[in-house]
């Protein structure tokens, strides 16, 4: 491959006024001998761009190094064919002149180092070879409830074939068999029986030509990758002798919904004392029976114990919800459903007193209107408080509730004929394989893991050191990292619902509806559409060889130099997306379609056999080596290497520049795909080169992580533990490396963070390896 490097230094945007551009050109020429090296006063103008284009055509320049603004700016202008031209953006505006004093030697040195690193990277980079394939574009929808039906019909409408798998013999899911009302439009105070619209939707799905439906079926296994999943569908009923059916699938929407929390665990709320204590789901079922499956709206609610019509009923909200002993989260739907049920009782049993005992009423948005309407009903009594005891007076057939912390200023007793426990939602995201299975999987159990949603004493979330999922029974993936999507917490599939809704940590598999987070039917309808769009995106991007979120359109992917592999399995364990399987010996089997191009595997590999065409341990090391490290131990000669995550930290630095806030000139920033992609070799290279300190700027990790690759920044911090041994061996202080968790909006904290670290390093003194 020809390395025809063209270096173009822009002097616009005050770069020319702050730096000696001529000196930059000369230094670049002297040090790197590029084919072309010129400066221009406005590279992003038509003249400037044409200049580059002319060199590409006439001088066959194929590595374009543009020293100008941030790589986040002018992407549409410096837009050359990525398959034949490598475009390297060197940020001498935001990261140099906007944060440093003008016409200063240190500023000049900073710019020179950045240009040097840019040229080095350009020289070392190859052109990506996208994996363009003819892939299957069928969408598999798992679950035929409200979410699943909407996902299926919307996929079909968008022109995609759909395979719908439903465990039961009928579509319609949870609401189908319940007396379920559906408030579909603002102000959400009209209770429309769900039957009609649900049946319409079911008919539509059943008659759609593009939708193939498997009822009474479940998934035996899923193998492969997006665009070529092989799905084995088998009868849900084991006595059914029908064979296994194979389907090839492009991407998957998981709409398996929820199941009610096991009320048997709520005996402290009186469940089981008398048939008159029932759950909200059981009440819905009772309504369904009484109404003749919704045919008759006028029925009287009667006590299960003696068949007399109910005169007083209490709803106990948050029954086993928002409770560390049971479900620690809010299921969002119980408040509305209890209010709705209360409305029905008030309508059909007009003399009845309805008590709603709540911690907080949560009726978000326009649902508030419904709450207010119900609150104003003279027969509905809202009780803020905690139910402390439930007892049953057998002689009078009365349930006695003791309520603590009420707004009456004390505890109260309530005598009711019926009590309804508003139990929460548990996601249908697979069952946890317990006890011996867990031990076999060698999962690193931590003691402070929250209790899982289904109540099993197994860890629901996966510790960072491993990515093994101890669940099965739903998708039954044949992935090396386990059978199901990893959880974030409480059994919900990992999906940072603020930043990346519908994403799971399995590329091409998108959870939607109440399996993703608790939600009601109205929200599920929209959720289905969102997940379908994600699924379509995945199929289309993957068949073009492009990555999906968050490195959308990236055509590179890691290359494994397998002959040198030591089968240490770190890459297969640490890949946040389970993209790498392994054979019996432990050799990685990489699935490019599942890959998100974060580079975590590259960072993990101790023998450095994993690399991207334009991003590799070697490229990083070479960039570090290209830095000029002055030997004289003065304050301005300290060199701090900053690895900045491209997703949050790098833009934060840009914004700091935009605000023209000065930052220490001792720092040299290298953008990385993710902190998880930093290979430990870079630290040792940098320190032996004479770099005095290394600062890692990356995303927040932990339960409310913001890492775009879920575990990258956490892995970086985890790997530092090993690094400390290396430092000790080199007789270097471990304080020379520091990781900071940074949000994009934290940019104003950067000067302090950098200043603090630079001072710390200065207090340690210069790197003793300087000059060796």
């Amino acid at each position: 491959m020809d390395n025809n490097v063209g270096v173009y230094i822009c002097s616009g945007c005050d770069i020319g006024k702050s730096l000696n551009v001529e000196r930059l050109v000369n230094t670049a020429k002297d040090s790197f001998k590029p084919l072309v090296c010129i400066s221009h006063e406005a590279l992003c103008g038509e003249e400037g761009v044409n200049l580059i284009k002319k060199d590409i055509e006439e001088k066959s320049v194929n590595k374009v190094v543009i020293a100008a603004c941030s790589m986040r700016a002018k992407q549409d202008v410096f837009n050359f064919n990525p398959l034949s031209i490598h475009t390297e953006r060197v940020n001498i505006r935001e990261h140099v002149i906007w944060i440093s004093p003008p016409n200063d030697n240190n500023t000049q040195l900073l710019a020179e180092d950045y240009i040097g690193m840019g040229i080095t990277r350009a020289k070392k980079s190859d052109f990506p070879e996208p994996l363009i394939q003819d892939l299957n574009k069928t969408i598999l929808v798992v679950g035929g409830g409200v979410t699943g039906l909407n996902a299926a019909i919307n996929s079909a409408k968008a022109g995609y074939d759909v395979v719908l798998v439903e465990k039961k013999s009928n579509l319609g899911g949870f609401p189908y068999s319940k007396y379920k009302k559906w408030e579909t439009e603002p102000p959400f105070d009209k209770n429309i029986y769900i039957g009609e619209s649900l049946n319409k939707l079911i008919n539509e799905v059943e008659n759609a030509k593009k939708i193939k439906i498997y009822k009474n079926s479940k998934i035996k296994s899923i193998s492969g990758a997006p665009g070529k999943f092989n799905v084995e569908i088998e009868p849900a009923d084991e006595s059914n002798k029908a064979g296994v059916i194979n389907e090839t699938i492009g991407s998957i929407v998981v709409a398996t919904g929820w199941k009610p929390y096991d009320a048997k665990k709520l005996d402290y709320l009186g469940y089981g004392l008398t048939p008159d204590v029932l759950t909200n789901v059981e009440l819905e079922e009772l309504y369904s029976d009484l109404s003749g499956k919704g045919k008759n709206e006028n029925f009287t609610l009667k006590r299960k114990s003696n068949g007399e019509s109910v005169k007083s009923i209490a709803f106990i909200q948050c029954a086993g919800s928002r409770d560390e002993e049971h479900l620690p989260y809010c299921s969002t739907v119980c408040c509305m459903s209890s209010l709705k049920e209360a409305a029905l009782i008030r309508k059909n049993n007009p003399d009845a007193n309805v008590y709603i005992i709540y911690k907080d009423i949560r009726t978000p948005g326009e649902y508030e209107n419904f709450y207010r309407k119900m609150q104003n009903d003279e027969g509905i009594f809202m009780v803020k408080g905690d139910v402390s005891a439930v007892s049953y007076d057998k002689n009078n057939n009365i349930i006695d509730l003791k309520v603590k912390n009420t707004l009456f200023g004390g505890d109260i007793d309530l005598n009711v004929e019926m009590a309804v426990l508003a139990t929460g939602m548990v996601p249908n995201s697979g069952e946890i394989a317990c006890a011996q299975d867990v031990n076999n999987l060698n999962v690193n159990l931590t003691t402070d893991n929250p209790v899982s949603a289904s109540g099993a004493s197994c860890p629901p979330s996966v510790p960072v050191s491993t990515a093994q999922v101890a669940k099965s029974g739903l998708l039954n993936l044949t992935y090396r990292q386990g059978n199901e999507m990893p959880d974030l917490a409480y059994g919900f599939p990992d999906s940072n619902f603020i930043c990346f809704p519908y994403e799971s940590r399995r590329t091409g598999i998108y959870p939607a509806g109440s399996v993703r987070m608790p939600m009601d039917t109205v929200f599920s309808v929209d959720d289905a559409k969102g997940a379908v769009l994600k699924a379509i995106q995945c199929i289309e991007q993957t068949s073009k060889g492009m990555s999906v979120h968050p490195r959308s359109n990236d055509t590179t992917y890691p290359f494994f130099d397998l002959p040198r592999c030591t089968q240490c399995k770190r890459c297969t364990e640490e890949c946040p997306f389970g993209a790498i399987d392994e054979d019996e010996k432990g050799t990685p089997k990489y699935n490019p379609e599942r890959c998100r191009r974060c580079g975590v595997c590259m960072g993990a590999c101790p023998v450095r056999i994993i690399s991207f065409k334009n991003y590799s341990p070697d490229i990083g090391a070479s960039m570090i080596k290209s830095l000029y490290i002055p030997e004289e131990p003065t304050d301005e000669n300290y060199r701090i290497l900053v690895f900045a995550c491209e997703n949050d930290a790098y833009p934060a630095l840009d914004i700091l520049g935009l605000n023209k806030i000065n930052l220490s000139s001792n720092i040299r920033v290298i953008p990385v795909r993710c902190l998880g992609s930093i290979n430990n070799v870079w630290y040792t290279d940098a320190l032996s080169k004479g770099i005095d300190g290394i600062l890692l700027l990356g995303c927040k990790f932990g339960d409310d992580y913001q890492c775009h690759f879920a575990k990258g920044s956490e892995l970086a911090s985890y790997r530092m533990v090993n690094l400390k041994e290396t430092l000790t061996r080199l007789v270097l202080e471990e304080e020379r490396i520091r990781q900071i968790q940074l949000e994009f909006s934290d940019y104003m904290k950067l000067p302090e963070i950098v200043e603090d670290f630079v001072n710390k390093v200065k207090s340690l003194g210069p790197n003793p390896y300087k000059g060796f």
Binding site: N353, Y355, R372, Q375, N376, D377, E378, G379, I380, F381, M382, K384, K402, L407, F408, G410, D411, I412, D413, L414, N415
Partner: protein, 392 residues
């Protein structure tokens, strides 16, 4: 502490809803109302407490509650309520409820529930007056009779004034005793020493004649003179003026009816008192409140129940016909004219007295100072008990 066994009564909730325009069920107990109330104290966090008791229909607690009478409806709570639940109006509704709760006959409840019932009741009393009048004096004055012959003041006294006074006295006393039973005697936690009833009596008299708590409705830091100048005391003073005028006239008519039927126009004290001060007070006061109720600009007058209107209108008409009657006597109108004006006056006055005094809005004149008196009694007794407990 023992748990309160809560009994809810949605019939009561319905009734309280009917007798006012408060959305008290919308309350979510934030407590803003009690925090902004200038009169509410830490021990008596009204109207917050009443909001939840009403929302729950807690009859037992509501009936024994004196706090609605301690509220003078400045409206700060309603203004600041985040749910627009109108706590001020709830206190008003509760006063209506309490009037019907103290009334053992059950008449007030009917009058409060239905405006037609009130109209009919008033018509019945007016008709009764007409019949009684016809029996006593006929439907026409005898030709050539003097006023004293045509309408004998003695007969008015014997057949109208004194029986009605006795009736009202018995009714009101029995209702107040009922109130005493429900609010003071029912409270097992408080034993009131006999001595206190006398030492605290001043609060009854003081509050009756000054309605001083009205002045406390504005707790801004301005000086009283400034408040007076900026009209912040207008409502209180007008109300006081009206009330004093009413009381003066009532006493005058019951005990000194002769004076009213005499043609003296010399500036005696009673002439100044009755013909000028009290007449102006009655008419000015009722017009003032009518204007306020029509304009609905202040919280106090935003909502008007039919009993409110009836009370103001009857009082106004009583005043107008009374002044007309007095003028016709002083200016020597023909006896037959005076005869009919007199009849009309009584046909308005007596429904006002019979219906409004014990069974409707008028009764607050009695209940308010009595409630303050009872509340003081209970408070003093409690602090005495506490002191004793500390000593022992």
């Amino acid at each position: 502490m023992k748990n309160t066994a809560v009994k809810t009564d949605n019939e009561l909730v319905k009734y309280i809803k009917e007798v006012g325009e408060s959305n008290f069920k919308k309350c979510f107990q934030c407590g803003t109302c009690s925090a902004v109330c200038p009169l509410s104290t830490e021990d008596r966090p009204f109207p917050r407490k009443e909001m939840i008791m009403a929302g729950w229909g807690m009859k037992e607690q509501l009936v024994s509650d004196l706090d609605p009478w301690l509220c003078y409806y400045c409206g700060e709570c309603s203004k600041n309520c985040p749910r627009k639940a109108e706590p001020g109006e709830l206190m008003m509704s509760l006063r209506r409820f309490l009037i019907s709760a103290y009334d053992w006959t059950g008449i007030s409840k009917i009058l409060y529930k239905s405006k037609y019932a009130e109209y009919i009741a008033i018509l019945i009393v007016a008709l009764g007056v007409l019949i009684e009048w016809a029996v006593l004096f006929g439907l026409h004055p005898a030709a050539g009779a003097t006023l004293a012959q045509a309408v004998s003041p003695d007969k008015i006294d014997y057949f109208f004034d004194w029986p009605i006074t006795a009736f009202l006295g018995v009714m009101l006393t029995s209702f107040i005793y009922n109130m005493f039973r429900k609010t003071v005697l029912s409270d097992a936690g408080v034993k009131i020493p006999l001595k206190l009833y006398f030492t605290e009596a001043w609060s009854l008299i003081f509050n009756f004649f000054t309605q001083y708590r009205y002045a406390k409705c504005d707790d801004s830091e301005e000086s009283s003179s400034k408040k007076l100048a900026s009209g912040k005391y207008n409502f209180w003073l007008t109300h006081l003026f009206l009330m004093i005028s009413y009381v003066i006239l009532f006493i005058g008519i019951v005990f000194f009816l002769d004076w009213f039927q005499a043609e003296n126009s010399l500036p005696y004290l009673h002439i100044i008192l009755f013909d000028y001060f009290a007449s102006i007070g009655l008419i000015f006061g009722t017009v003032y409140f009518t204007v306020k109720r029509l304009s609905k600009k202040i919280e106090r007058s935003k909502f008007s129940h039919h009993t409110d209107w009836m009370f103001v209108i009857l009082l106004f008409l009583t005043g107008v016909t009374g002044v007309l009657l007095r003028a016709s006597i002083v200016y020597n109108y023909s006896v037959s004219a005076i005869f009919y004006i007199y009849l009309a006056h009584l046909m308005i006055l007596f429904p006002m007295l019979v219906i409004e005094v014990p069974f409707s809005k008028w009764s607050h004149l009695a209940y308010r100072p009595v409630a303050i008196y009872f509340a003081n009694l209970k408070e003093k007794a409690k602090s005495l008990n506490n002191e004793n407990a500390e000593i022992s």
